[in-house]
């Protein structure tokens, strides 16, 4: 098949895919993430229980299934529930506004236990007295007092312990208020979860195993159906349940007709449960009768049966010994009443129906995005995307003219494919995902730049347009694949290891890189080859390759010591900034809450602070926000110590100033913050290792070390700049840092690829001369790719809104640092290191001897030996080529065209066609013939003092 026919077929495929993409885009719905449409995201961490002592995959899978059933019962459209990390489960609920209800419904462990009440209630001496109703106890006021009392009890270890199957540590602040309602397995765990401020004056109280601190039951709902808040009154009981949630079946929400149609939950017992229920109620009835004073009212003298759900007493019905002397036959089941609205009763019935979770789920992060802010973020993301596309297209058009038009067209095709894939897969589009899409515009354009520069180089070397395209592609494809594979690997590492929000970015980045490879390598090539015979591409000017590019004579290696020093100073300043000012870690790492609330009444920062002081948040960071979309009076409150279940701040704000809309709440628990930091560190280490291995495989290990040093340099400089300007470090920053690893490598690979190519071409040159030559050849494309990658990032920075601006800031710093380090760190380190090799040391000694003790910056021909030669290609065929070597792919006509394009006679065609000339191209060049390669002429020997300025004396004495 001829090249033109193959190109046309590829174009046909491209147009077919374009048509398909348009169809997909027109018919399929875009799945928007929570950050773009509003909703609630909850992240839970699985904790072991006595029944499930290890958090293994099976337990997580079972929990995931149960959570999915709960979410389905909650009636949320298109929820997403998935495992995240080792022990975490991420629940995304688009469109949900009532975060409290979602938390109650979804994350509740739903551990139901039924107790013989009098047999288990403990008195102040930790003793039970089954003969006395309720052991003569009333609930203890204040959790601190209850826990202090419980801490004095001896452990009651037995096989029946359930809710209190291990010691639990409670944490209180100086004012004896619980820091959180969460308990910990050890004091060390508890301390680990607190920040420095919380640790000041914190009190840790351990309740022994078998002693359960149970919250007293809530009151009944008022006339409006509003359930009173959970009371701060607590009972201490021996954790010795008679039945558990596994002993019941068919829970339903019903109404108690005898009690004014109050909502209740009814259930039936399993066979085992029925027997246990009857035995227990019989024992309660008998005990009640035995201990009742003569003539006593059985209602007041009867003993009780208690139902507890998730450490909260739901109800304590009495067992009337006169009506049920033999206990209650559980054949008709039982009911749970008290403190329910219809909704909460329905929820409980559903939870009981689905069953208890095998793991204790701790809510470690909660994000609530208002729909207004979501829409605003979507608009900003789209504006940044369109802006990014326009600036990249403009750059390509100005810089590459006709080639730029083709690149812009393929960029549009790329964007179309990408959007269609987003809808087809479907990929839930998030704000970081949009950032990934915008960044890949730069990646896609970079691939075109590398190819176009190669084509221009071929044209300037005297090739025809058609040959230049084929040859340029052949030479550029390795560089593009290397650079894109590295970005793909980094995206893969990010996807596997990074925090939840970053995964969307990694996924879109990965997909984008893969699609851009297709459009840049196949589609652009097909368009170019199809047009190569037309007038459009006939002129060199149209391709931006009119005049021969003047070789840049800058002594990169000679100047590197000064740039090295500059880097050292920048790093030192960065180190001082990190040490002195520190990095401003956001709540993703430090834990805490950020609440953006639209208020009904205008409020100053001081007024908000005064409103928050009574609830213990007088020291919160407060700022007013100018966001007309959200409302006139918007405040943002950042607090350190607020656990994910706590709504104190929003409640206080609403009470004082009223609410003008849903707040945006982001709460990160301490353990989640730690896991984010840990996963970020793992992701960076894994990325560096993978990059090192890849570079070693594709180049050699001595190329990998400078790459890693340069990357380390980029990361640390970015960190230093963050410390200097006090920019907040978030999970987006980590994603940006990892993206920098991929982007920074693009430049380095371009340079190293050319160094590798030039090494066999320059068999007598010093390594510094090879690097100087390589740098001078690729510096334009290296700078162009960086600039092109920077353009969409700038668009993100300018139009992307607050979240994307943070992300773009890190990318801008990283991209600039990456470009700098590719040229002035990675290459000089490689150069200095390689120069120590015997072969290069020998060359250097010879060159110094020939040039009066200095090594010219650029290789010069001496004694009739050219500075560079065409490399011999391994496996090349020997002998003359007088016909197409591959008649199936190259027609005779094309072969003749190629011969004409190369400007040689048929007899010279063999020499021009490649490495098959006896004696090689070196011989051909010596004979004064062009060798068909882009090998430049030997560099003239510097003669004047001015010319000597471009030489350098290597600083190392050898």
């Amino acid at each position: 098949m001829s090249v033109r026919r193959r190109s046309l077929l590829i174009l046909l495929l491209v147009f077919g895919l374009v048509a398909g993409s348009i169809a997909v885009i027109a018919t399929k719905k875009t799945q928007l993430g929570l950050d773009l449409q509003g909703g609630v995201q909850l992240i839970y961490e699985g904790k072991p229980t006595k029944a499930q002592p290890t958090v293994n995959q099976a337990a997580l899978d079972r929990s995931l299934t149960l959570l999915r059933q709960r979410v389905d019962a909650f009636g949320v459209a298109e929820p997403e529930i998935r495992l995240a990390g080792d022990k975490q489960i991420e629940v995304s609920l688009p469109g949900v506004e009532d975060v409290n209800s979602a938390v109650d419904q979804i994350g509740s462990t739903a551990q139901l236990f039924l107790y013989d009440w009098e047999k288990n209630v403990l008195d102040e001496d930790c003793k039970t007295n089954p003969d006395e109703p309720q052991n003569g106890q009333s609930a203890v006021t204040g959790l601190y007092n209850a826990v202090q009392r419980a801490a004095k009890c001896d452990p009651r270890v037995d096989a029946n312990n359930s809710a209190a199957d291990r010691p639990r540590v409670y944490v209180f602040d100086k004012a004896n208020k619980p820091v959180s309602e969460q308990t910990f397995e050890s004091e060390a765990d508890a301390r680990d979860s607190l920040d420095a401020k919380q640790l000041e004056g914190a009190k840790f109280v351990t309740v022994p195993e078998g002693i359960l601190v149970l919250r007293a039951e809530r009151g009944d709902p008022d006339k409006n159906g509003k359930v009173p808040p959970a009371p701060d009154r607590w009972y201490l009981i021996d954790d010795n349940p008679a039945l558990s949630g596994t002993d019941i079946k068919d829970p339903k929400q019903e109404f108690d007709e005898r009690a004014g149609n109050l909502p209740i939950v009814t259930f039936k017992f399993t066979d085992k449960g029925r027997k246990a229920f009857q035995n227990t109620t019989r024992a309660i009835a008998i005990r009640g009768q035995d201990n009742a004073p003569p003539g006593a009212d059985p209602v007041s003298a009867s003993q009780h049966f208690a139902i507890a759900l998730d450490n909260e007493l739901v109800s304590t019905p009495y067992i009337n010994y006169r009506e049920n002397p033999d206990g209650i036959d559980g054949v008709n089941g039982a009911q749970i009443s008290g403190g329910f609205t219809i909704d909460t009763a329905q929820n409980l019935a559903q939870l009981l129906e689905i069953g208890a979770l095998p793991l204790r789920l701790e809510l470690v992060s909660r994000s609530q995005v208002s729909a207004t802010l979501g829409k605003q973020a979507l608009d900003q993301g789209l504006t940044a995307g369109i802006g990014g596309f326009i600036v990249v297209a403009l750059f390509l058009l100005v810089f590459y003219r006709v080639l730029g038009v083709i690149a812009t067209a393929t960029l549009a095709v790329y964007a179309l494919y990408f959007y269609a894939l987003v809808k087809l897969i479907p990929i839930t589009l998030t704000l970081p995902g949009i950032a990934g899409l915008i960044l890949t515009l730069g990646v896609a354009a970079d691939a075109n730049i590398v190819i176009f520069e190669r084509i221009k180089e071929e044209i300037r070397a005297g090739r025809s347009v058609g040959t230049a395209i084929a040859s340029g592609y052949k030479k550029a494809i390795g560089t593009i694949i290397d650079a894109n594979v590295v970005t793909l690997l980094v995206a893969f590492v990010l996807f596997l290891l990074a925090a939840a929000g970053v995964r969307g970015f990694a996924f879109t980045l990965g997909i984008g890189v893969a699609v851009s490879l297709f459009t840049a390598v196949l589609a652009t090539q097909a368009i170019l080859l199809a047009l190569s015979g037309t007038r459009l591409l006939s002129g060199r000017a149209a391709l931006g390759a009119r005049e021969r590019e003047a070789r840049r004579k800058f002594d990169f290696m000679g100047a590197s010591r000064y740039f090295f020093s500059a880097s050292g100073i920048i790093l030192l300043i960065g180190a001082l900034a990190i040490a002195g000012k520190g990095l401003n870690f956001g709540i993703d790492f430090e834990s805490g809450s950020r609440i953006t609330a639209p208020l009904a009444k205008a409020a100053s920062v001081d007024q908000v602070r005064e409103a928050l002081r009574p609830v213990g948040f007088g020291d919160a960071e407060i700022q007013t926000i100018d966001n007309p979309d959200l409302g006139k009076n918007v405040v943002q409150v950042s607090v350190e110590k607020l656990n994910p279940q706590d709504n104190t701040v929003t409640d206080a704000l609403n009470a004082k100033f009223g609410s003008a809309g849903d707040p945006n709440v982001e709460t990160i628990g301490p353990s989640f913050g730690r896991s984010v930091a840990r996963s970020a560190l793992y992701a960076i280490i894994a990325s560096l290792l993978i990059i090192g291995v890849y570079i070693t495989l594709r180049f050699e290990w001595k190329y990998a070390v400078p790459v890693l040093i340069a990357l380390m340099h980029d990361l640390l400089i970015t960190a230093g700049v963050y410390a200097l300007v006090g920019q907040e470090v978030t999970t987006s920053t980590v994603a940006a840092l990892l993206t920098i690893l991929g982007f920074s490598l693009y430049d380095t690979i371009i340079v190293f690829d050319r160094v590798r190519e030039n090494v066999p071409r320059m068999p007598s040159a010093a390594f510094s001369q090879i690097v100087n030559r390589s740098m001078s050849e690729v510096i334009v494309r290296s700078l162009a790719t960086s600039f092109c990658a920077l353009l969409p990032i700038l668009s993100l920075f300018l139009f992307g809104g607050e979240t994307l601006r943070d992300f773009a800031f890190a990318l801008i710093v990283g991209t600039l640092s990456g470009t700098y380090s590719s040229v002035f760190i990675a290459s000089p380190v490689l150069c200095h290191w390689k120069e120590r090799e015997a072969v290069y040391a020998k060359r250097e000694s010879r060159i110094k001897a020939e040039h009066g003790g200095i090594v010219p910056a650029y290789a010069v021909a001496t004694a009739g030996v050219p500075a560079d030669v065409a490399p011999s290609e391994r496996g090349g065929r020997r002998g003359r080529i007088t016909a197409p070597s591959d008649p199936a792919n190259v027609s005779n006509q094309e072969f003749e065209d190629m011969v004409r394009n190369l400007g040689v006679e048929s007899g010279q065609a063999a020499a021009a066609a490649g490495p098959s000339v006896p004696g090689g191209r070196r011989a051909a060049r010596r004979a004064g013939n062009g060798d068909g390669e882009a090998a430049p002429k030997p560099e003239p020997k510097p003669k004047s003092p001015a010319a000597r300025k471009v030489t350098r004396k290597h600083g190392r004495a050898r």
């Binding site: 090295f564 030192l572 180190a575 002195g580 380390m712």
Partner: protein, 89 residues
């Protein structure tokens, strides 16, 4: 955070080795390893085998890295000279 500051300071000092004759064992990469490892190890030793956390990292932490980096690079340098001498002999 302390370890980041130590390594960063060591790395910063390493940049100035380009002004020295390249007699480091392992060349410029050997000097890099000496600077980074030296700053981290000596920094750790100075702070009592405890890496300062975010709140404990101060300007002094930065200074703690300097002797380590110099010792590390010096050790690599003199090892390079020793090896050169041995090779010549």
């Amino acid at each position: 955070m302390g370890i980041v500051v130590w390594v960063m300071t060591g790395l910063a000092l390493w940049h100035f080795t380009v002004f020295l004759p390249d007699r480091f064992w392992g060349g410029i990469v050997g000097a890099f390893a000496g600077a980074v490892l030296g700053s981290a190890i000596i920094g750790l030793a100075i702070s009592g085998l405890d890496v300062p956390g975010t709140d404990d990292t101060t300007l002094l932490t930065c200074l703690e890295a300097i002797p380590g980096a110099l010792i590390g690079m010096g050790a690599v340098y003199f090892e390079g000279i020793r090896r050169e001498g041995a090779a010549r002999a």
